[in-house]
């Protein structure tokens, strides 16, 4: 059943993105930012974790989860180190994702040449 809900929830998030593109004529950068902020706000309201429990990768793969994890890291560190933890903790949970993007990006750029 979780496959079904992963499909529905993940698909719905993508449909919203496509609507932002096609109907509201937003560019990819703005669309992406909106999703990150939306994920962060949903986590702030305590709604994103239940969504992941419900839909699995349908909620954890889309970029909205990046916003969710930014908030997660900030809150975690804030509990341990107070207000300074908000700043140091933002990339705590997401560091693997960001580092992977940089490392794989560099490797890809070294090996491959764009076909145009």
């Amino acid at each position: 059943m979780i496959f079904f809900w992963a499909f529905v929830v993940g698909g719905t998030i993508c449909v919203i993105g496509q609507i932002l593109f096609d109907v509201f004529k937003l560019n990819p950068g703005v669309t992406l930012t909106i999703f990150v902020i939306a994920g962060a706000i949903l986590d702030g309201l305590g709604l994103y974790d239940p969504l992941i429990d419900f839909a699995g990768a349908g909620a954890s793969v889309p970029i909205t989860n990046f916003g969710n994890q930014l908030v997660h890291g900030a809150m975690q560190e804030a509990e341990q180190h107070g207000i300074i933890g908000v700043v140091t903790g933002i990339f705590e949970v997401t560091s693997a994702g960001i580092s992977a993007a940089i490392i794989f990006g560099v490797i890809g750029a070294i090996i491959f040449k764009p076909k145009g």
């Binding site: 096609d22 004529k25 990819p28 040449k113 764009p114 076909k115 145009g116």
Partner: protein, 338 residues
């Protein structure tokens, strides 16, 4: 010489004595591969960047135009060119390589006809005897300049167009054999408030119609005076919009004589969305394909209306509208005018 407000009649009828056209792999697979003197099978042209590849195409087109004529490079007085990349650097570098005195232009995709109109004007007024007039564009370099690098894989709506990888160059001379440049109408900037940079055909259509209407009125001729009226890169959508506007203005151009370089270069089935675009669209379409029709005497008189969107990536980001322009040049076969 000046007729009306913005139409030049070239009494001395400068001649296009030769042309040079270069295309990329996508163009080689297109509808008019015969229109190109050189077709490259590699987007990079063995260069280290797409911008350098564009520069190389411009140089090649100019060199072929000279080679196809009987004159030497040293006889060419000016090189008039422009393109879509920041500060028109591919044209600037090509001018360095060619070592010919240079005018750099920017009129986006209308550059080809702006350049041809000015070249003919200078020659008509005895300012030079030979001028190279040309432009180049490169699909990947233009995507990077105006939108996203192609490897980013950004989505494009069906209204978007495909920038031609190619270059077209004409050698304009005072005397000689070849099609003659007879008149030109300089465009006004027309801005109907469209802000969608993925729908430039619709944005440019009113500019094309304004220039066509002005040209016909100031020359006092009927559309049927020409065998073909050819727009630069309106694509499917821009063509439809322009036909509606022409109809509203009671300008009746028969559909089969109203052509678009943007719908000529590629075949059905190539993923070019609304059609071809880029400065090379009107240049290779005109110099490679339509001038051939004149030489083969299939047509005698054509009016080329190159259309350009004069926006920048920054002006789009700042939500400005897209200012557009169209320059028209009439080219006629030498035989019935001599």
């Amino acid at each position: 010489m000046l007729t009306g407000h913005r139409t030049w009649i070239y009494n001395n009828q400068p001649v296009i004595i030769s042309t040079g056209t270069v295309g990329g792999p996508f163009e080689a697979n297109g509808n008019i591969p015969d229109a190109f003197d050189i077709l490259h099978d590699d987007m990079w042209l063995k260069q280290s960047s797409f911008e350098k590849a564009q520069r190389t195409m411009m140089e090649e087109a100019a060199q072929i135009a000279i080679k196809n004529s009987l004159i030497q490079k040293e006889q060419v007085k000016f090189f008039i060119s422009g393109d879509l990349i920041n500060q028109i650097t591919p044209s600037n570098f090509a001018a360095k390589t060619l070592d010919i005195p240079y005018f750099g232009l920017f009129s986006a995709c209308a550059t080809s006809m702006e350049s041809l109109a000015l070249s003919a004007f200078i020659i008509n007024g005895d300012g030079a005897d030979y001028i190279l007039s040309g432009t180049a564009s490169h699909n990947a370099a233009t995507e990077k300049q105006f939108r996203y690098p192609t490897e980013y894989g950004g989505q494009k709506p069906p209204t978007a167009q495909w920038t031609v990888t190619g270059a077209g160059c004409a050698l304009v001379a005072k005397n000689g054999e070849g099609p003659r440049v007879t008149s030109a109408t300089i465009g006004k900037v027309v801005d109907m408030g469209i802000t969608d940079a993925f729908n430039m055909g619709a944005a440019m259509a009113p500019a094309a119609v304004d220039t066509i209407e002005t040209h016909l009125r100031e020359r006092n001729v009927d559309p049927t005076y020409y065998d073909l009226i050819i727009t630069g890169d309106l694509g499917h959508i821009g063509r439809e919009v322009s036909m509606d506007l022409l109809q509203k203005k009671n300008i009746d151009i028969p559909e089969e004589m109203y052509r678009d370089c943007g719908l000529t270069i590629y075949r059905e089935g190539q993923p070019v969305l609304s059609g071809a675009s880029g400065t090379a669209s009107s240049a290779v379409g005109t110099y490679g394909h339509f001038l051939k029709l004149i030489k083969e005497q299939q047509v005698n008189r054509i009016l080329v209306v190159a259309t350009g969107s004069l926006h920048s990536p920054l002006s789009v980001q700042q939500n400005d509208s897209i200012p557009c322009i169209a320059h028209a040049v009439s080219i006629e076969s030498g035989s019935d005018n001599q």
